[in-house]
């Protein structure tokens, strides 16, 4: 089996293009109008946004590629089941809907958890982009000790409405 120079050249161009796209995708961090008091941290690798307050409230927005497909309702239910049944988190209210900065509809869930001996509030928002058999899932997590969590919740929810690429 032989390979001509033109073929090699064509493969090389495709590889460079693919690497470039991958790099561009990996480096393009997410953006959001953070609430007052949050400092955006420098994050390495992947599409994510990390921010925290001086008193250790944390906001983490990430993208995950999922090969299994699935829509928003499926992933919302799967996450809720895992957090409640397997990890013992206590839900606060029902699943709510939330839009990001591009108008995409996602879901938002609130929980109470006990971590390292302290009661914490935990928010997890979810957006799903379906791409054929695959999906891209964006999560936005916010956690803080209570009652600090409750104080920041409104501002954080507003910030989630500005999340964009």
């Amino acid at each position: 089996m032989s390979c001509s120079a033109s073929d090699l050249c064509r493969y090389a161009v495709r590889a460079v293009a693919a690497l470039g796209l991958a790099a561009a995708a990996g480096c393009a961090n997410l953006r959001a109008d953070l609430p007052q008091g949050f400092l955006e941290l420098r994050s390495e690798g992947g599409r994510q946004l990390k921010a925290m307050t001086a008193d250790d409230a944390r906001l983490w927005i990430r993208d995950f590629d999922v090969e299994d497909g699935g829509d928003l309702d499926f992933w919302t239910a799967a996450l809720r089941t895992d957090l409640i049944a397997r990890r013992g988190l206590v839900p606060i209210g029902e699943v709510a809907r939330i839009e990001d900065g591009t108008g995409r509809t996602g879901t938002l869930q609130l929980f109470e958890a006990r971590v390292d001996g302290a009661d914490r509030g935990y928010l997890c928002a979810l957006w799903v982009r379906e791409r054929g058999d695959e999906s891209s899932i964006r999560t936005a997590e916010f956690t803080a000790p209570r009652p600090r969590f409750d104080e920041l919740l409104t501002d954080v929810r507003a910030a989630l409405g500005t999340v964009r690429d």
Partner: protein
């Protein structure tokens, strides 16, 4: 000279005779009242006996009898008049259409809610009840019973649901419109009967009549007090709804992470409060 004295004596005899004639009627009415457990009232030469027709319908029979013909007319079962003149103007001979009246509901809810910290949940619940203008009726460890104003009941219920994971919920709404109306009518009639008895007592001359009237007054007074208390309790149950919450809290340990049985989906294993704290 003796003529005026004779006239006075004759008048006294006539009065005694009239009293003696009226005595059987009085006894009959008193007995009827006692046996029926309802109020009896006298006004001038007339007597009125009222008894409920159907307890659940809240309507009643009304008997109006002249004193002289009481034995022939005040017979249970004969409708002479409705309660229109002693109630709020309900149609004669029957209950008002239920739909037309303002419904009176007694609402109650019982919930079992799982929360991370029981003591905190109870404190939050108490604050919630106080804020809603209610009050705690009973508290037993993580079980708490409270009353909240009926118009704040739904909001309070939603707030409790949002406090944790609802494991069990039971709602009850009882329509007590007829019961309330019936009780109100009976109480009003008993009060009117008592007033009439008091007026009759002032005019009574025979000691035997006084004793009988006083006995009936004591019975009516007790009955009025009982019905007043019942009505007050019913009004309270209508105005405030009962909210009973049993909080369940897990053992005071950290939220467990079952690493031996991770989620089938990798990304789910990478989110959660512990991950945010450890991998941030």
């Amino acid at each position: 000279m003796n003529e005026p004295i004779d006239r006075r004596r004759a008048a006294c005899r006539a009065a005694r005779t009239a009293t003696r004639r009226a005595r059987p009627f009085l006894a009959v009415l008193l007995c009827l009242a006692a046996s029926c457990g309802v109020g009896i009232g006298f006004e001038g030469s007339e007597a009125r006996l009222v008894q409920p027709e159907f307890a659940d319908a809240g309507a009643g029979f009304g008997f109006t009898a002249d004193a002289e013909n009481a034995d022939s007319r005040a017979t249970p079962g004969r409708v002479v008049a409705s309660l229109d003149d002693v109630t709020d103007g309900a149609p004669s001979g029957g209950a008002r259409p239920a739909a037309a009246a303002e419904r009176k509901l007694v609402r109650e809810a019982t919930l079992t809610v799982r929360v991370p910290r029981g003591a905190d949940a109870v404190a939050r619940f108490e604050a919630l009840v106080t804020e809603a203008g209610g009050y705690v009726v009973q508290r037993d460890d993580l079980r708490i019973v409270a009353r909240v104003p009926a118009d704040r009941f739904d909001a309070a219920l939603d707030a409790v649901r949002a406090m944790g994971r609802v494991l069990n919920e039971s709602l009850r709404a009882m329509d007590v419109t007829e019961q309330h109306r019936d009780l109100t009518i009976r109480l009003e009639n008993a009060r009117k009967s008592r007033e009439r008895l008091l007026a009759l007592l002032e005019r009574a001359t025979e000691i035997e009549d006084v004793i009988k009237i006083e006995a009936e007054l004591r019975r009516l007074t007790t009955e009025i007090e009982t019905m007043s208390a019942e009505l007050e309790a019913l009004d309270l149950r209508i105005a405030t709804s009962l909210l009973e919450v049993q909080f369940l809290a897990p053992d005071d340990v950290e939220t467990p992470i079952d690493r031996d049985r991770p989620s089938r989906f990798r990304w789910i294993n990478l989110v959660g409060p512990s991950h945010v704290l450890q991998r941030f």
